[in-house]
Symmetry: C2
Subunit: 319 residues, 2 copies
């Protein structure tokens, strides 16, 4: 059983809807129409300690991360954050003042950054740390996962660092390297760990380019999975290569990794993947915030990489 | 460490807010002002298998229950349900088609009942079943946990059955009774199990009495805990006794329980506890839906039961 099959069963089973629902479970956020020019967008994102939270993250970083993961979905709709709610299940290990203070300090700091107050929550006792966030946002023009034929497909900033950071983290976890070696590598590749530990959702970018783009999603499960939401596309490895920062290229050489595969499979990057016919305008509008790179185009039919059929990538939960 | 202390730490740590937030984490729902006569209310409620989900509940009942627990908070604000999101963490045990279909069928059935479509979610892999729901609602007049001096304090329908059902469930779980005896008792006290297995949120009641009441909360952790949100009150055991249905009285006699304690400590009842100066109007307005009972009054100062100081009750998580 995998995540995709489970979501299919869920979609088939949930039959009830009503006229308020513009978009259900098929996009980064649900979209609820409040009136003609006013839409509420809502998303929920859960982090399970064993599956999602590398033990090298501090409680402070965990707090920022759960908020960022949710806000990134709001950003990808081109919407403005409105409010955040967090339910938490704590095991005995985390049910102490220090852990809670640090976690919620991280949350508080980033809620200010995103102008998205934490307005509610629920506290529970469980066997492992689980955080479940819900972010709400508002917009007059929700942006979906789509594109027009001929649109450029673009990505903000860069991809690959999170994959590299996790690569090292798993080497440490499965004792392929010592903690001392791990620490040395952290110092050698500081930006790689920065992106894992302190990701930022591209809220300003989403808002600024709202009227200039045709479609958008955030890169949380890896470009290789997210790109398939656009259905028909051609992308090019030489262009993807321009998304990969130099330290990632160096890292890939040192650890014998394919940098293109790294870029396609690097999840929780929280960069925006979008489609537009106004690339230069977008580039100019975002120039003080983020770089933008073209990686391909929306086409009539098919999914291609360098002219060959595209076979995907990215992360899918399996049981 | 207990839940109350944790919530205190969280409230102290979360400093950021903005002008949209009318109510933060101090009520059944957060309240966000959209415009003069339009408020969004939002709540999140998590169920952890070991802590919250008796194994006698079917997946279908679990699905209905997580929705009802969340919608009950919307009802207590006097608001109209708008949409629901569900994040879920599945262990290997639950990651199968039958379980998922049943769970989401229960959810779908009740989302129709409450006119509250399920619009989003997140699916994860974990060590135990955890469901985290978020319900959104709208209202022109959010009702808080409060009352005016002199207000009647009232409760809808009845209290006590859930406590009794769990009392038997724990006898079964800790092998004080056999499964056969348990089944016999289920047949002897059918309404007791009905209330545990198929609770309903009082949405219509909340909406109908919105303009007639001064304060409201739902009874999810037990009357003994919820009543303290009203700060200053006197309640009377003879009046509380009228809330207790006959089968609960019988059950208490058979199992040597104090029915008043049962009524004060019975959680997840999802009845509404409210304050009003218009008791007769409320009673008349709800007559086709729910009974209402007075149990006491809001006073100037202090918390009393039968003239004695009140020492609380209800459920609090402890680590």
């Amino acid at each position: 059983m995998d995540e995709i099959k489970i979501i299919e069963i869920i979609k088939k089973t949930l039959k009830f809807s009503n006229k308020n629902v513009v978009k259900g479970i098929d996009d980064d956020c649900a979209v609820i129409k409040i009136d003609e020019n006013f839409y509420l967008v809502a998303t929920t994102d859960m982090m399970v300690k064993k599956t999602h939270i590398p033990s090298i993250l501090t409680p402070y970083e965990i707090g920022r991360r759960i908020l960022t993961a949710n806000i990134s979905d709001i950003a990808s709709m081109g919407a403005k954050p409105l409010a955040f709610l967090l339910s938490i299940s704590l095991s005995k290990e985390e049910a102490n003042e220090l852990f809670i203070k640090e976690l919620y300090s991280g949350l508080d700091e980033f809620s200010k950054l995103y102008n998205c107050p934490v307005v509610g929550g629920d506290t529970n006792k469980g066997d492992e740390l689980i955080l479940s966030g819900t972010a709400l946002g508002i917009t007059d023009n929700p942006i979906y996962r789509r594109g027009e034929v001929g649109d450029d497909i673009c990505v903000t900033n860069d991809l690959g660092r999170v994959y590299c950071a996790l690569h090292l983290y798993y080497k440490l976890k499965y004792k392929k390297i010592s903690y001392k070696e791990f620490e040395k590598l952290c110092q050698k590749y500081p930006k790689i760990f920065e992106k894992l530990k302190r990701p930022v959702a591209r809220v300003k970018e989403g808002l600024l380019m709202n009227k200039l783009i045709n479609g958008c999603c955030d890169i949380s499960d890896g470009l290789g999975k997210e790109i398939t939401y656009f259905k028909n596309f051609e992308i090019h490895t030489d262009k993807i290569f321009k998304l990969i920062p130099e330290d990632v290229v160096e890292f890939c050489e040192a650890f014998d990794l394919n940098p293109i595969k790294v870029a396609l499979n690097s999840g929780e990057e929280f960069e925006l993947l979008f489609t537009t016919s106004k690339f230069n305008k977008v580039k100019n509008t975002l120039k003080n915030y983020s770089k933008v790179h073209k990686i391909g185009k929306i086409i009539e039919e098919g999914q291609f990489i360098d002219g060959e059929e595209f076979h995907g990538g990215g992360y899918i939960h399996k049981w």
